[in-house]
């Protein structure tokens, strides 16, 4: 049995409890009574993957069905991978400890581009053919993927049988039901895929063929097997009625987000032009405060966690935020639960709200200012003014805070040196503000941390057409920023531009990147998002070996009338809207948020109802 083989080596590796299952809340079933087995794979380590909310939802949802069994599977850390390869331990699922190659579905969640090579590595460790075309004709081992990255899944197209677009709560079960039925009828893989692609939200890449122009851009996409010309993402209509787990798997080892998360809302009203999540998760839908509180209570009681966080793109945009927080804080105080509130926007961070939050927990303050000058913040439609940032900082400092963390991006469209210097100047003005306050925290200095990411243009945003700055340009701007900071009270950190470059290529790429990813993995690339494992030199070699020019994807402006590699996928927001927003951005004109005025992104027309 695999279990004995695994246990033999568990004490030789770091944090062995990650590899043996048995956590509280994990679900085991009698496999002789199971019709469909689903391995939910997260292409990163346990510590990261176990923090993913989508997995928790789909895990519990699938397991509600008596005859389906969803299990978890993660990428082993390099120390355990070595042992697995040496001792012929195939990649296995944590509940049954059975090899995932024997499962019906091997489903990956694609949360970030830099996890792509891990998918290949996991398939290889599992003993599943890496290319979809090499898999058996029999109906088994369906390798599928969902998550934000599959809004442009083309760089992964050769490796997957199915991509699931949008929210999975309904479509996953529909797909498993179809599988269960067809498996009993003795259907083949191809029979199944032909039927599956007729389900809304199911994209079967092998039925689509890209034809390119001489200049390398897409000429057109041909479809086969009656597959729909355009595949539309799935959404859940009513968030109050959608399934939400009453229990989570509670890990033994500490994970990145080791707490209860309760989803507050989906979508975002803000329309920040760089933000993919802000567009691909539309329409905006909220859960009612009562449902949020009931879910919080159930999860805290069942898991035993003493910390809860609210998950959303912008919690403070909930229309009933005050009542919700009042109710929640009542419960959490009584039960001695910590409440943490990420994603609070600067502009509606009121004093009364801060008071409530302060009552609960005193942690750091973080603001995503994103741009160093008002002009640039207008370009990206981050509707935050300096006055608002200063006001919030003032309230925070008067309330006893002395550390502020600011997030910025570098390499944004229309950015000039003035905008970069503006970041340092803004940080300096926050420091000046601190010392101008009479009742500032005594005995402590002020600390402003500036975290500066490199802008990565993403599909399904108004900036999808934009090129990324070249590495040389980013490095120059990083140096400029460092030189503009005159005090030790401001700490600057920034991203490796080589990593951001790979991100944009994988985000905006097409099918010609499949061999590049394969080659890079063959050369040893994996865990690309982990600084210590990232091998840019190997990626450069892979591009060269495959004759693919990375600059074509990273540093080229995609024209408005060009067929984008993701244009056959419909995420409800129209391309016309993105073009309009892109033009508005270049005029440094803002677009109001959805509650103030509908800006006509097209979602309401497709969904067939008003957003508010």
């Amino acid at each position: 049995m695999l279990k004995e083989k695994i246990e033999k080596h568990l004490l030789e590796i770091q944090k062995p409890s990650r590899y043996i299952g048995g956590e509280v809340g994990s679900i085991t079933k009698d496999k002789s009574k199971i019709d469909v087995r689903f391995a939910f794979c997260f292409p990163d380590t346990y510590d990261i993957g176990m923090s993913h909310l989508g997995m928790k939802i789909l895990y519990s949802l699938t397991n509600e069905r008596e005859n389906y069994w969803c299990e978890r599977c993660f990428a082993p850390s390099p120390d355990f991978e070595e042992i697995m390869r040496e001792n012929d331990i195939p990649l296995y699922a944590l509940e049954s400890l059975d090899p995932i190659k024997d499962f019906d579905f091997i489903g990956f969640t694609m949360q970030y581009e830099l996890s792509y090579t891990n998918v290949l590595n996991m398939l290889d460790l599992a003993g599943i053919p890496i290319f979809a075309k090499d898999r058996t004709d029999k109906l088994t081992q369906i390798v599928d993927a969902g998550g934000p990255c599959v809004c442009n899944p083309e760089p992964l197209a050769d490796f997957f049988d199915i991509f699931i677009l949008g929210e999975g709560e309904e479509v996953n079960l529909e797909l498993m039901d179809l599988y269960n039925k067809m498996k009993k009828e003795g259907a083949s893989r191809l029979d199944f895929l032909r039927k599956a692609c007729q389900i809304e939200g199911v994209y079967v890449p092998r039925f689509y063929e890209f034809v390119y122009k001489a200049d390398g851009t897409v000429d057109h996409v041909e479809t086969r097997e009656n597959a729909p010309k355009v595949v539309r993402k799935r959404i859940i209509k009513d968030l109050d009625k959608v399934y939400y787990p009453k229990n989570f798997v509670v890990p033994f080892t500490e994970i990145v987000h080791d707490r209860v998360s309760v989803e507050v809302l989906r979508g975002c009203i803000r329309g920040c032009r760089f933000c993919q999540a802000g567009f691909i998760y539309r329409p905006f839908r909220e859960k009612s405060s009562d449902v949020i509180c009931a879910e919080t209570k159930a999860l805290c009681e069942n898991t035993g966690y003493d910390e809860v966080s609210l998950a959303s793109l912008s919690t403070s945009d909930h229309s009933d935020i005050d009542n919700m927080l009042t109710q929640l804080i009542d419960y959490t105080e009584k039960e001695r639960v910590n409440l943490s509130l990420p994603s609070l926007r600067v502009d509606n961070f009121s004093e009364s709200l801060l008071e409530k939050i302060k009552k609960v927990r005193k942690s750091g303050l973080t603001f995503a200012a994103e741009g160093g000058t008002q002009r640039l913040r207008d370009v990206i439609n981050k509707n935050v003014t300096e006055e608002e940032i200063m006001n919030t900082c003032r309230i925070a400092f008067e309330g006893g805070y002395s550390a502020v963390k600011l997030y910025f991006m570098m390499g944004l469209p229309t950015e000039t040196d003035e905008d970069i210097v503006g970041i340092a100047e803004l940080a300096q003005r926050i420091i000046d503000l601190f010392y101008s306050i009479e009742n500032r925290p005594k005995g402590k200095g002020v600390q402003v941390s500036v975290s500066c990411a490199t802008f990565v243009p993403k599909p399904f945003t108004p900036f999808q057409f934009e090129p990324q700055d070249t590495r040389e340009e980013i490095e120059r701007k990083q140096k400029l920023l460092i030189d503009s900071v005159k005090t030790k009270k401001v700490k600057v950190s920034y991203h490796d531009p080589n990593v951001s470059m790979l991100e944009v290529i994988l985000a905006k790429g097409d099918r010609r990147l499949c061999p590049v990813i394969y080659t890079a993995w063959k050369k040893g690339c994996k865990f690309d998002s982990w600084g210590e494992h990232y091998r840019f030199d190997k990626w450069v070699e892979a591009f060269e070996d495959c004759g693919v020019d990375p600059k074509f994807y990273a540093n080229r402006r995609f024209e408005y009338d060009e067929i984008l590699p993701w244009e056959h996928l419909d995420y409800l927001v129209s391309k016309e809207f993105f073009i309009r927003e892109n033009k508005t951005a270049h005029k440094a004109v803002t677009t109001p948020h959805c509650r103030l005025r509908c800006s006509g992104c097209g979602v309401n027309k497709k969904v067939g109802r008003d957003c508010f």
Binding site: L10, S17, V24, D306
Partner: protein
């Protein structure tokens, strides 16, 4: 406030829960049980509970000791059952009672393990040879660095048998607030003194004792 003590098992997959993780795990178990656990009254109130001895990662045990306080009187069996209903797989409360002895009364712990080798007869004679030595010196990692210790004087062999290719050992070693010797020290000493390949399996703590062989309660 009622001061309680529980004896619990940590077996099967639960042996991969590290001591640090066990702390977190127990906190969540208490919360799931909804028992009225007593919180400390300091600046940062937290549920009070303590383990008598740390158990090495990978060891099983039938006799771990957990101390905690409750705000109300609840029958011991009910406390046990409520905890067991929400315990992770492999962990089980055997018994709950009111604390009698102080944790500092602990003097030694008993361990059982098997030494497995293709040449178990040869290994058995090497074990005997090692046990007949006057000293068993071994490097022990401490907070202050590596120190050579002699584990022989305080080591008691309860039994040591060669059984179908397996050498089954039951031994007691000093434990508690003063000196803590881990059976891995003995196993390492054996590894240094024999040329025979072997593995140590099923290391398990089987008892915790005070002076004069009195079971710690």
């Amino acid at each position: 406030m009622i001061r309680l003590r529980a004896e619990f098992e940590k077996k099967g997959r639960a042996k991969y829960i590290s001591h640090l993780d066990l702390n977190r795990c127990m906190l969540r178990t208490f919360r799931r049980s909804r028992l009225p656990i007593w919180y400390t009254e300091g600046f940062n109130p937290h549920p009070y509970y303590a383990f008598a001895l740390a158990l090495s990662l990978g060891f099983e045990s039938s006799c771990e000791i957990l101390d905690f306080n409750l705000n109300e009187e609840i029958p011991f069996d009910e406390v046990r059952d409520r905890l067991n209903a929400v315990m992770p797989e492999g962990m089980r409360i055997v018994r709950v009672w009111e604390q009698k002895l102080k944790i500092t009364a602990i003097q030694e712990a008993e361990y059982s393990f098997s030494l497995v080798s293709e040449n178990s007869d040869g290994l058995f004679s090497d074990v005997k040879k090692l046990l007949s030595q006057e000293n068993i010196l071994i490097d022990k990692k401490t907070k202050k660095g590596i120190r050579t210790v002699d584990i022989k004087p305080n080591m008691k062999i309860i039994s040591c048998e060669n059984n179908n290719g397996k050498i089954n050992v039951l031994m007691r070693l000093p434990a508690g607030t003063q000196t803590n010797f881990n059976p891995n020290l003995f196993i390492e000493a054996l590894r240094n003194s024999t040329e025979i390949n072997f593995t140590a399996e099923n290391i398990s703590r089987t008892g915790i004792f005070c002076e004069n062989n009195v079971k710690f309660e």
